[in-house]
Amino acid sequence: MTPYTATGRPEVRWPAARRALADRPALTLGGILVLLLAATDAVSPGFVTPHQLSTTLLYAAPLGALAAGQTLAMLTGGIDLSVSATATAAAYLIAGLGARGTAQAVAVALALGLAVGMTNGVGIGVCRVQPLIMTLGMAGVLGGALTLASLTFTNGVPVVPDAVHQLGSGTVLGYLPLDTLVWAPLAIALLAGLARSGLGRAIYAVGDNPLACRLAGIRVWQVLLLTYVLGGVLSAIAGILLVGYTNAADLNLATPYLLQSVAAVVIGGTSILGGSGGYGGTILGALILTVLDSLLTILNVSQAGKQMLYGAIVLGLAWIYARAAPAE
């Protein structure tokens, strides 16, 4: 027997868009991306060039990595509000330790991501704290710690290692951004992992029904722990790519990316309630957001305006997806 629905759902309008998104999200999102590119090209003739597309990929890679962690968290029915704080912290470590050697700086930055993810994972998986609270608190702790750290860093000169700077802003073969070369293998691993690995199955399952997982012998805490650890490391990678691009760390480096990471996931069709969606949609979501950002910049929209528009877009798309879900 199906449980009674708590609210009478209004009749569905926009049946075409609804069905298109429900049945072929990738195709629909791809279509939106192409439309956006065409619109940008119409506003600013000559936008669709290999050079501009390369720049789009370059911008999209850090967001793509950040949104990857967010996707994993949301697939398990959680949310990670510490992704941008983790990325900023990683960026800070790279700049602060850059003088001591690239490898060391990168290793410490990744270790920080691991530690943050581990703490989140223990809180959420073992202590059963709500993901929202845990990661919001973690973001608070990281934010405060960064403010403290920024005071000590002013003594030395922060240097972003050249290799990281190259990775975050350089290209090979003329147009292929180096950070895309970091993002692409990550993306492939995530896509394959979610679809065809035991862990991927477990992540979807935990998001869909944790009790069923327990009764089937899956230790939910292990899945959640690993999910948030992966999220922490992915956020750190995003921070490294980001600081490589900006070539300098500041306290709000990744702050605007928090909503964007959620937006990319929501646009990509992953439900915050967990158990359905995937990283493929998120990739398209990140690309759509990046092209949209270019378009808005060309149209001279202020930061405040962009922020409001992103809020509206997240709301609108989440609405369409909510309607696309079956009425039961």
Binding site: M1, S197, R214, G217, R219, G275
Partner: protein
Amino acid sequence: MGRHPMPAVNLLEVRGVSKRYGAVVALRSASLTVAAGEVHALLGANGAGKSTLVKILTGVIRPDAGTIEMSGRPVRFASPASAPRAGLAAVFQDPSLVPDLTVRQNLRLTGADPAGVRRWLAAMDLGVDEDDLAGDLPLPLLRILDLARALAREPRLLILDEITAALPADLVERVFHVIRRWRAQGRSVLFISHRLVEVRTICDRATVLRDGADVGTLVLAERAEQQIVALMLGPMAASPEALRPAGPGAGTRPDAAVRDRAGGASAAPLLLEARGLAVSGALRGVSLSLRAGEIVGVAALEGQGQDALFDCLAGNRRADAGEIRVAGRTLAPRTPYDAIRAGVVLVPADRVHALLPQRSVRENIALPLYNRAARWGPIDLRDEGARAGAAIARLAIDTRAQRQVRRMSGGNQQKVVVARWLAAGFRVMLCFDPTRGIDVGTKRQIHRLLRDLAAAGAAVLLFTSELPEIPLVCDRVLALYEGRVVRELPARAADEATLLRVVHGLAREEPPG
């Protein structure tokens, strides 16, 4: 509609009501007539559309087409709040009391008259502390409170959706007593239940739904069950042949032959032993043993410790005392995982607890395959497909809605839960009321499957709330009463009358061993 003589006054008249969810038709065209002063049963297999019709009658959902009339006047319900105004009150399958409010606040929430509620509770010989949080009360009492609250509204038509499902037998009697009083006052009841015996006991007429449409209304007389079952199954599925599972070697043995095997199991190895299992407030030293090839039934009224017993054996709860041995080895499961590793698997009471509603049939069946970190690497898709395919075939699961199990019927969902363990493998299966709320055809399939599993060397512990199932499926039966095994019987001797006596704690005997 049936062509039986209609009573003069029709209280409720439903004509051609339909409802679809996207592509899924939940109700094709249902009609139903309830006369004043009548207890009318609404019957049908799972997925026949009973729940949908009830939801429409109570304003939970709105129909796509059709008309509803009360005493000849058309009515239209926008929400559950509007149904009572038309003289309709319902007791839903799920308790509708808010857990964090006290009973008193719950009554105020619905504008129920507390004095009326107290009166009806008294009529059932029950009382409740109105300052208790609803969430602290046991489920059967919550159902009764729901009923009293509905009765206190003095509706003309009372809708009872599976009210007896969670009630122990003595409470069922008291509910029936109240229903009879209600009818004597010239008021009506629409009674929805899977238990045909109850339907025959309390109802005057019955309307049967099949595939979203009404297929007949009949006056209930002695021996009406056969007729009802035939209507529910329809012409295609009526022959027993069609109910047999499609798997190799399955369903070839008639039930009688199965039961004859029962005596021969004593030489088989012991698979599961429990000694003195205790859980405070639930279990007081339960011992049992299961041999390979054996199905042992557990018979009990609601709340006699059977939940705790199954949870302890499945590792979902830790016993305060006692020992569990699986195939001779001690097992002290901290989580279900430990029990599953030892080969003890659980089919839980509520399939909602066991399923991944948004995932496919295949992912649901394959779930236990990935329950340890060592299996979190790449999936062997061919192996997974073969295991899932074999389990689907053996249980004859209808895979038309396989992309998301939430779109499947209840019976099919239950089969998916069982199929999971066929694919993963096990030694001992703990089945907690696996046939509750599912249709007759699927019930028979599950009975046969359990016998087949036992024949193949597994052991099955089966709790069922339907006592007639026990002689049909089990070899032995343990009667549980107040957290103790009060009696052990061979299944052949466990006719319903005997079982009813022992589960009520009558005819007590020291448990053997």
